[in-house]
Symmetry: C2
Subunit: 266 residues, 2 copies
C-alpha cells in the first residue's frame, strides 16, 4: 500500500501547481495525475456535468491503484467533493478545506477575501467550508474568470493583467480584507501582481496547505512512503498544441512521463 | 426539402452571432443550432478531438433533417471542414471561405490581417483559403485568445480590453494592413474597440458574408424557403449557469426554444 500512488485529478493542467507543492513536501510519494484536458474548463460547465466528470476521473485513478485521491480542481471540489467521497473506497481530499483552515489561522481582523472562477465563487462552497469550521469572520468572494486566460497566455506581469487585477481586487481592498485566499489552480502564478496591488496582507495558496494536510493524513493512516524518489505519471484526456509548455510552467520541472488516455464516457 | 432546417453547429454559443446574421438575411429559413457547450472551447483541444466532435455534431444535425450544414466554429472549420464534407450527404459551408472572398474584394494594398484563436491561426487554414482563391496578397495572422474571455466577461469596451487589443493589434497596424478579418465568432462584439484602435480600415465579419453565400447556395440548389417566419431551435450539450445571458448577447433576440441534448460520444 505504501508504494501505491496518490491520485490527483484536475480539469486540465493547472492542477500541476498542486502536484508541485505535494512533490516538494512529500518527495517520496508516487503520484498519478489525471488532467481532463478534453473537457476543460469545468468552470463553465453545469453542476451535473462536473459531478459526472469527477466520478469518472476518480474511478480512473483508483484503477491505477490510488491509495488517496486529491481533487486539485476548485470547481470540482466546490460541487463534487462530497459525492466523490460517497462513491469511492479511498480517502478524498479537496483543495478548499486546507486553504480555509490556513486563512482562519492567519487573519487578524476576520475579513477574508476569496478569488476563483465564477463557478467556485457562486457555488457557495467556501462559505460552507468557513461555516463548517465555525468561523466568525466575513468572507468576501469575487469571481475572477479572466485571470485563468491571462495565466495561460503567459501574461504574468503584463500591464493589462495589472489593470484586470485592479478591477477585480479593488472592491476587496475597499472592504479592508487582511487575507486573500487564492481559490484557483492558476492564481499562484499571479502572486507578484497581487502583492503589488494589495500590499502587506496575507496570501493563502491552498496547494501548500493541502500538502501539509495530505502528509498528516498519510501518516495517520500509516501508508506514507519513505525515501525521496517518488515517481510522477501524467495522464491527459487530450494533448493540445502547447500543453507541455504551459504544463511545465505550472509544474516547475520537465514533464517526462505523460500519456493520452481516453475515458469511457468520452 | 424546403421546410427542412439549416443545421448550424459551434463549440458553444458564440456561433449564435452567425445565426443572428443568417436570420436577418434569410428570415424564412428554419434553423437548428447545436452548441457543444459540454466540450467547449475547441481552440485548446487537439486536431483529432475537434474532428471527432465535428463529425458527431454534423450527424446530430442530419438526424434532425438538416438540408445544409453550416460550421459556425472557426476552430472546427480550420481543421475539420473537408473531413465533414466527405462524411455527410448534404452540402457543408464553413466560416472561413466567405470572409476570405470578401477580404480579397475590399483590400486595396493587398495586406490583410486575420485574428482568431491560437488554433485557427496556427492551423494555417486561412493561408490555405487565400491560396485557393489565387490571392496575390500578404496575409498576417495574429492569435488573440484573450478576446474570447473578455467578450464572455462582457467587458466589451473596458480599458483592459483596449490595452489587450492594443498589444495584439499593434503589429498588424505597423505592418500597414488595410483590411482586418475577424476569425472568431466572439470578435464582432469588440468592433467598437477595433475601430477606435485601427481607424479607417476595412473590417470583415464573416458571418455577414456567410449569410450571402448560404442564400446563393440555397437558391442554386432550389431548396430555399419563402416567407419570414423561420423557426429557431437551439440544442446545447450542457446548460451552464449563465449560458442564456451570454447567448442572448450573441443572438440579439431572446432564446426561447432550447433544450439540452447528450451526444452518444459524451
Amino acid at each position: 500500500m505504501r508504494d501505491n500512488p496518490i491520485g490527483v485529478f484536475d480539469s486540465g493542467i493547472g492542477g500541476l501547481t498542486v502536484v508541485k507543492a505535494v512533490r516538494s513536501m512529500l518527495p517520496a510519494e508516487n503520484i498519478v495525475y489525471l488532467g481532463d484536458t478534453a473537457r476543460l474548463p469545468y468552470g463553465t460547465k453545469s453542476v451535473d456535468a462536473i459531478i459526472e466528470f469527477s466520478l469518472e476521473n476518480a474511478r480512473f485513478l483508483i484503477s491505477r491503484g490510488a491509495k488517496f485521491i486529491v481533487i486539485a480542481c476548485y470547481s470540482s471540489t466546490s460541487v463534487a467533493l462530497d459525492i466523490v467521497r460517497r462513491h469511492v473506497d479511498v480517502p478524498v481530499i479537496g483543495v478548499i478545506d486546507p486553504g480555509v483552515v490556513k486563512a482562519l489561522e492567519v487573519t487578524r481582523n476576520g475579513r477574508i477575501g476569496v478569488i476563483g472562477t465564477s463557478l467556485t465563487i457562486f457555488s457557495g462552497a467556501y462559505e460552507k467550508a468557513f461555516r463548517k469550521h465555525g468561523a466568525k469572520c466575513e468572507v468576501l468572494g469575487k469571481a475572477c474568470p479572466l485571470f485563468v486566460s491571462l495565466v495561460e497566455e503567459g501574461w504574468l506581469e503584463h500591464p493589462a493583467t495589472e489593470l484586470v487585477a485592479r478591477e477585480y481586487l479593488q472592491p476587496l481592498q475597499e472592504d479592508g480584507i487582511d487575507t486573500l485566499l487564492l481559490g484557483c489552480t492558476h492564481f499562484p502564478l499571479l502572486m507578484p501582481v497581487f502583492r503589488k496591488l494589495m500590499g502587506d496582507i496575507h496570501f493563502v495558496d491552498a496547494s501548500q496547505e493541502l500538502g501539509n494536510a495530505l502528509g498528516n493524513a498519510l501518516k495517520a493512516a500509516d501508508v506514507e512512503r519513505s525515501g525521496r524518489d517518488g515517481a510522477l505519471s501524467i495522464y491527459l484526456t487530450d494533448l493540445s498544441m502547447n500543453f507541455k509548455e504551459i504544463g511545465e510552467r505550472f509544474l516547475g520541472e520537465p514533464m517526462t512521463d505523460f500519456s493520452r488516455v481516453t475515458l469511457k464516457g468520452l
